[in-house]
Amino acid sequence: MSGRSSPSGRPLAPYLQVAPLAFIMLTMVGIPLVTVVMLSFWEFDGIAVYPAFTWANYAEVLSSPVTLTLFLATLKYAFLTLLATTLIGFTCSYFLVFHVRNLKVQIGLFLLCTIPFWTSNVIRMVSWIPFLGREGLFNSMLIKAGLIEQPLDILLYSDFAVVLTYIHLFTLFMIVPIFNSMAKINPNLIEAARDAGATPAQILWNVIIPLSKTGIALGSIFVVTLVMGDFFVVRVMSGGQSASVVSAMKNNIDQLYYPVASAMAVLLVTVVLLMVTAILRVVDIRAELAR
């Protein structure tokens, strides 16, 4: 791209073009982030916060055994959710792209995937409770069917319920990018693979998955960041029995422990950035998108 130079020789137009986005990024992302980082170094005596430069907050966070437990719990949720959403997202996209021949049906089914999003996250999450509860639909169904004698406790207020809710909430974020990259696969490539003697499994492994990995990577970034940043689902669906990094942060904030919460936040951002970097290492999204 070549910007048109103003008469003085300094190109102004490109700067004006990026100005709105730069402004939004600066005010909505830059300033809050800098504030959090700054706050994480301030002093706190249990009553008030003082401007300072101290590592004490980090020392507290890092020396606490709870921190590791929290991160491991959150990473476990992220990993399980990622695994399930990738499998479901890939399967749905594969069906939509390669089995639904009719474009109108394809678009229709795709919109069907978005129907849950017509209601709020909270309602979608809470609607699991009457279904999964001790006296809930699923348990009474199993009891009526004679499969179990006692209602299953594991269904609600458990890690299972948390992960299930995450999957429900976030699978679409996986379907959309995978569908998008799969739809770009030239059908001739699949015929060429078949012509070379490849079995359907070999076509899937050697052609479709490699060519969908941009979508898988993008979807993974969405899902990982969403799960890592959540506290509400964990709190409600685990019935307060489990905690994630952010729910611990929320507790700190509720007790006005701002600097400690900030230090935790900085740590979380670092971990998430590392994860995203790892994903980008595996898949060169920029090069793939330019293709």
């Binding site: 030239n186 001739n188 015929e191 060429a192 078949r194 070379a196 490849a198 079995t199 070999q202 490699p210």
Partner: protein
């Protein structure tokens, strides 16, 4: 000629709903022949090719390769390789991996398939680019990779779906030569789908002219060009003027036909023709001479000159004869410039009776002639 790569197509039809894309086609392609299938888009040539490749299953009929019934055999196990119109190279694999793909899915070891792929790339003069990915190559190079990928399994039959249509004119002529050379080197059957008449004429041992899902004529290029079977073939292959007349009299050895303007034409015997029947016949454009309009003679047609094009080796003169298609004469350069014509002149095109060729086939569709 080897029987291993001979193809027999027997009563093959393909229906898409009510549409007969291919309608009860019978065709034999000799082993080791270069066969060109030609016709306008939608004539069924690509569907037929894809059925031979196994990407489509015939609704009825059988396909034999080397005497073996492969009608329902799995693609990739019937000894065919298809080269796609836009090459369909795998964008995420480098050239070596692309070429080695079919060896990989057959379970050949990494080292062996790598060596074979490099050997094949060397054969198409692309070894120096073995580690590149397809998007870094030019169209001509991509096509050579596609060829190498198709040939690595030593197929009995190579199927080419409009292989030259994505190339520019210069490369097209160059690749045409390479294809022909490769085919005679390998000695396997090539089936080449095209809609370009000079390509078919130049390459093929056997030209198959198709229209509306049926084969109008399958013969050598000289036969198809000189003795088209139907008005459609004559028009589509080009180089011919198609005329129509009513049988005036039938004599032993020849039939006299009266054309729309009353001129008599002396044709060879038309099987079973009675006076009053309509007969189509053709005369090659380069067998025609022009004279002044005044003289009335047999085997001629009067018209007004509407266009004159100097073509280097001949002069192309188009006449409006009152029919829906122009009558075209290719005239010898020296002869023409001895008596040049002008647009608007009334002239008479005449030819020797022996150049009248009867068109037996009934397919009278216009086709889209590709000239030069």
């Amino acid at each position: 000629m080897n029987d291993q790569s001979r193809i027999d197509i027997r009563k093959v039809s393909k229906l898409y709903g009510p549409v007969r894309a291919v309608n009860s086609v019978d065709l034999t392609i000799e082993g080791g022949a270069y066969c060109c299938m030609i016709g306008p888009s939608g004539c069924g040539k690509t569907t037929l090719l894809r059925m031979i490749a196994g990407h489509e299953t015939p609704s009825s009929g059988t396909i034999l390769i080397g005497g073996e019934d492969v009608t329902r055999a799995r693609t990739g196990s019937r000894g065919t390789a298809l080269m796609f119109q836009n090459y369909a190279l795998f964008p995420h694999l480098n050239l070596t991996e692309n070429v080695a793909f079919s060896l990989k899915v057959r379970g050949v070891s990494t080292a062996e398939r790598r060596d074979k792929a490099r050997e094949m790339l060397d054969r198409v003069q692309l070894l120096h680019l073995a580690e590149r990915v397809p998007s870094e190559l030019s169209g001509g190079q991509q096509q050579r990779v596609a060829l190498a990928r198709a040939l690595i399994t030593n197929p009995k039959v190579l199927l080419l779906d409009e292989p030259l249509s994505a190339l520019d004119e210069f490369l097209r002529l160059k690749m045409r030569v390479e294809l022909k050379r490769l085919q005679s080197e390998l000695g396997i059957t090539f089936i080449h789908v095209t809609h370009t008449q000079p390509e078919a004429i130049a390459l093929a041992d056997q030209v198959v002219v198709m229209d509306h899902g049926v084969i109008d004529q399958a013969a050598s290029p000289r036969e198809v060009y000189n003795h088209p079977y139907s008005p459609y073939v004559a028009r589509f292959m080009g180089g011919q003027n198609v005329l129509t007349g009513k049988v005036e009299s039938v004599e032993r050895g020849h039939t006299v036909v009266r054309s729309h303007d009353g001129t008599m034409h002396d044709l060879p015997t038309v099987e079973g023709a009675k006076p009053g029947d309509t007969v189509n016949f053709s005369v090659r454009r380069d067998r025609v001479d022009l004279s002044s309009d005044a003289e009335v003679m047999r085997n001629s047609i009067a018209g007004t000159v509407v266009n004159i094009e100097y073509q280097g080796t001949f002069v192309k003169v188009a006449l409006d004869t009152g029919l829906r298609e122009e009558f075209v004469a290719y005239l010898d350069v020296d002869k023409y410039f001895a008596a040049p014509r002008e647009v608007g002149m009334k002239v008479r095109a005449a030819w020797d009776a022996k150049y009248n060729h009867i068109l037996l086939g009934q397919n009278n569709s216009t086709g889209t002639p590709h000239e030069d």
